[in-house]
């Protein structure tokens, strides 16, 4: 049974880069930058789309580490917390303007990720995954214990006074949506190029079998640690966005272990080793509970005990997760791709 340990990332598709988008990418961007803000209400922009984008970014971060480099981590929430608290620290203690603070915070998180990636030369598979909980619990403790991190407030909550970027007020729902979207598009573009570069290919070689990768001359340890650092950079930025552009304030509770699981769900459901999969997975994970809630309220409210109803919803969410894992082993990204291919040959096939 033990041989399975070395291949935890086997379900990642071996297809190398994403298919080229052709005309669809500009269309998608046009939709996101122009049509959505015109059509969406404040509720949709601020309470659905912003968190969706941030979760996609966090998923992207974890996917670089797990889907591409094959190192599983449950510390995502902890690294997001580092990003959020570091941003706060730079703004409040250092007087750094917000955009720069987020960038610095990303770098700090990358450093933290690098440190927690150091044991990855000897620890592998589930052992590594469970060890990564050390990061999760340590950061939760750290940011709660030392008041310096939250500027000596009476409770460990961080809030930024007024959201400003380059002199513009970005506190409105539309403003927050645009900033998040820009950051996410930019970082996604970087990620796409990264995974096609030599670095990305080394990661995939390490993921598929690190001993073999070492044999062909890839510096395995360096690749792994780099993956931890890059992944954490993304998670750190996502954490900062989550805290200040979505919630408006945060405490370690926003980055608990359930957040780590949520992000892991996103990449598994969406598709390991797929960039688009993160967006699909995030949409699924953030919209599904809301959808179940609406359906349940519409059909059952009043007929079933409210406590039972809420618990049924929770169980249903679990059932759907298992169902997707059984039916779509490669994640929703694969499902969409297959659908797209079928559609493109549609008149001929049906």
């Amino acid at each position: 049974m033990s041989h399975v340990l070395s291949q935890t990332a086997r379900l990642a598709p071996t297809v190398l880069p994403e298919r080229r988008f052709g005309l669809r990418l500009p269309l998608l961007l046009l939709l996101a930058f122009v049509a959505v803000p015109l059509l969406g209400s404040d509720y949709w922009l601020g309470a659905i789309l912003v968190p969706f984008l941030v979760l996609s970014l966090a998923g992207l971060g974890l996917n670089l580490l797990t889907g591409y480099a094959g190192q599983t981590s449950l510390g995502s929430g902890g690294f997001m917390a580092v990003g959020a608290f570091a941003t706060f620290g730079f703004v409040v203690h250092g007087g750094v303007p917000l955009p720069l603070a987020v960038l610095f915070a990303g770098l700090v998180t990358a450093g933290a990720g690098l440190l927690f990636g150091l044991p990855s030369d000897r620890i592998k598979g589930f052992y590594l995954m469970v060890s990564s909980l050390a990061a999760q619990f340590f950061f939760e403790w750290l940011f709660q214990k030392f008041p310096w991190f939250y500027n000596y407030g009476s409770s460990g909550t961080i809030t930024l006074p007024r959201l400003e970027a380059f002199g513009y007020d970005i506190g409105t729902a539309v403003g927050r949506y645009y900033v998040t979207l820009t950051v996410v598009v930019l970082l996604t573009w970087i990620a796409v190029n990264l995974v096609r570069s030599q670095t990305g290919r080394s990661w995939m070689a390490v993921r598929d079998m690190d001993t073999a990768a070492a044999v062909i001359g890839i510096r395995v340890y360096r690749s792994k640690v780099l993956a931890f650092a890059v992944s954490s950079f993304y998670l750190g930025v996502a954490g900062a966005l989550w805290a200040f552009l979505y919630l408006g304030s945060a405490s370690v509770q926003s980055f608990g272990i359930s957040r780590s699981f949520q992000i892991l769900f996103i990449i598994i459901i969406g598709g390991m080793g797929s960039i688009a999969g993160n967006f699909i997975g995030a949409a699924f994970i953030s919209l599904l509970p809301l959808a179940i809630d609406h359906l349940a309220q519409a059909f059952f409210a009043g007929h079933v005990d409210a406590g039972l109803l809420q618990n049924i919803q929770k169980a249903l969410f679990g059932v759907l997760i298992i169902g997707f894992l059984i039916k779509e082993p490669d994640g929703l990204a694969r499902l969409f791709r297959t659908l797209g291919e079928r559609l493109s040959s549609w008149p001929l096939r049906f």
């Binding site: 699924f284 809301l290 409210a306 618990n311």
Partner: protein, 444 residues
């Protein structure tokens, strides 16, 4: 085929969420009351009874009294699992009302959520209500016009605890040199009283020890070994959830008698002592929300709601449990605030600004308490625009192994001593956020 089903499911999920927020203001005769709740997860044991109390009282108002001066309450629940992130999403979903029925206030049902929403509430003009919780400095309504840590803020909780100890010791002068240990849940909630206890320790000369218990707190031997080494005169227990029964049991194991331990508001329900079994006998707790089903309001509810099968309680043996009464009291505070607002703006559904006016002019005296059936269960309360707490007292209840017994009348917190601390923190917040404190006297 399978694919088709999956895609359909996904499409349906997107489509249903798209149908959410029609936010036009038509005329409505109803007041919209959204409630973020948690019936799932680790905190559900407190939640389910709490919402039952709240829903039962709102139902009583709607069905027996015909609404608040004729305005029916349209209540809707949203599951959050006590996650502030999900509460924020719910808030955004409901802040514009529903089908024309406006929102006059929003119960955050949790301190972290209160923190997360505090600026949004101020910007959207929606009062955030968090009785016996919330951000302590938001007691200062001049800086926080839309946040209400109603009834009994965290500083008052610390103060009443110390005052009760003084009472037991026979006077404040007897506190000198005493050792008081606070065992607290290591979270924002747990630490919120530290500044207050420190101030009181200086004032009265007792020794202040603070010992943290990490969440969730299901193993506490190292902490109580430390407590035993200190040999404390009193222990103030500020835990929450599972850490409370474990604390009480571990204390017994280390030879610390339960009647020397005083629990906080959120460590003083049946769920906190029943699992501790006999170890909890003699344990005392602060009770701004006393337990028991013997108050006048309970008779009314029993007749009109419970016996007619309209109660939200799944098991009626919890009628009058501490958490059920928390629900009742929070509901009555909201209803009375609506009445106060209606007295000024007319008997119609109120919006957030009018709701705030209602809460800021909420006065419930003994006569009114008797009228609504809450005498003894709820303290007299009077809010002003500068004071968003309004109460600041609690009774003490003691667990006799079977039920909570009230052992004191209302003990008032030393609010004059603590007010400067609140104001200093509020002023710091105002400075950080460029808020000019309003002057309430300039308004009506």
């Amino acid at each position: 085929m399978k694919r088709l089903v999956l895609t359909a499911l996904l499409a349906a999920s997107v489509a249903t969420t798209a149908l959410v927020p029609p936010a036009a203001f038509a005329d409505s005769k109803e007041q919209y009351v959204p409630l973020p709740t948690y019936r799932v997860g680790p905190y559900a044991s407190s939640g389910t009874l709490w919402w039952a109390g709240t829903l039962d009282y709102f139902r009583y108002i709607n069905e027996v009294e015909g609404g608040v001066n004729g305005v029916k309450l349209k209540v809707e629940e949203f599951e959050t699992e006590w996650s502030p992130d999900r509460t924020v999403e719910v808030y955004e979903r409901v802040k514009n009302g529903k089908d024309g029925a406006p929102v006059a206030f929003f119960f955050t049902h949790g301190t972290p959520a209160s923190y997360a929403l505090i600026e949004k509430g101020a910007a959207d003009k929606i009062p955030l209500i968090d009785p016996a919780g919330g951000r302590t400095e938001s007691t200062d309504g001049t800086v926080f016009p839309y946040a209400f840590p109603l009834l009994f803020n965290y500083f008052s909780q610390a103060s009443v605890g110390i005052n009760y100890i003084a009472q037991k010791e026979g006077g404040f002068d007897k506190l000198k040199g005493k050792k008081i240990v606070t065992v607290y849940h290591d979270s924002a909630y747990g630490r919120e009283t530290q500044a207050a206890v420190e101030l009181l320790a200086k004032k009265y000369g007792f020794e202040n020890f603070q010992i943290p218990v990490a969440d969730p707190g299901n193993e506490q031997s190292p902490q109580w070994r430390q407590v035993r080494e200190i040999k404390p005169d009193w222990v103030f227990l500020r835990t929450w959830g599972v850490s409370t029964p474990v604390a009480i049991k571990t204390a017994q194991r280390f030879g610390i008698p339960a009647d020397r331990i005083i629990g906080d508001v959120w460590a003083g329900s049946e769920a906190d002592v029943i699992p501790a079994g006999t170890a909890a006998k003699g344990y005392q707790a602060l009770a701004p929300y006393p337990g028991g089903a013997g108050f006048e309001i309970h008779d009314r509810l029993r007749k009109t709601i419970l016996d007619t099968g309209k109660s939200d309680l799944r098991d009626t043996k919890f009628f009058g449990a501490v958490y059920y009464n928390i629900g009742l009291i929070n509901a009555v505070l909201a209803v009375e605030a609506l009445r106060a607002g209606q007295a000024k703006f007319g008997n119609k559904p109120l919006n957030g600004e009018e709701g705030r006016w209602g809460f800021e002019h909420l006065t419930i005296d003994d006569a009114r308490l008797k009228e609504i059936g809450f005498y003894g269960l709820l303290q007299p309360i009077k809010l002003t625009p500068a004071d968003h707490e309004g109460g600041g007292a609690a009774r003490i209840q003691q667990w006799d192994g079977d039920k909570w017994v009230l052992v004191t009348d209302w003990i008032q917190a030393d609010r004059d001593t603590l007010r400067p601390l609140v104001e200093a923190k509020a002023a710091a917040y105002a400075k950080e956020h460029n808020i000019t404190p309003r002057s309430p006297t300039a308004e009506n």
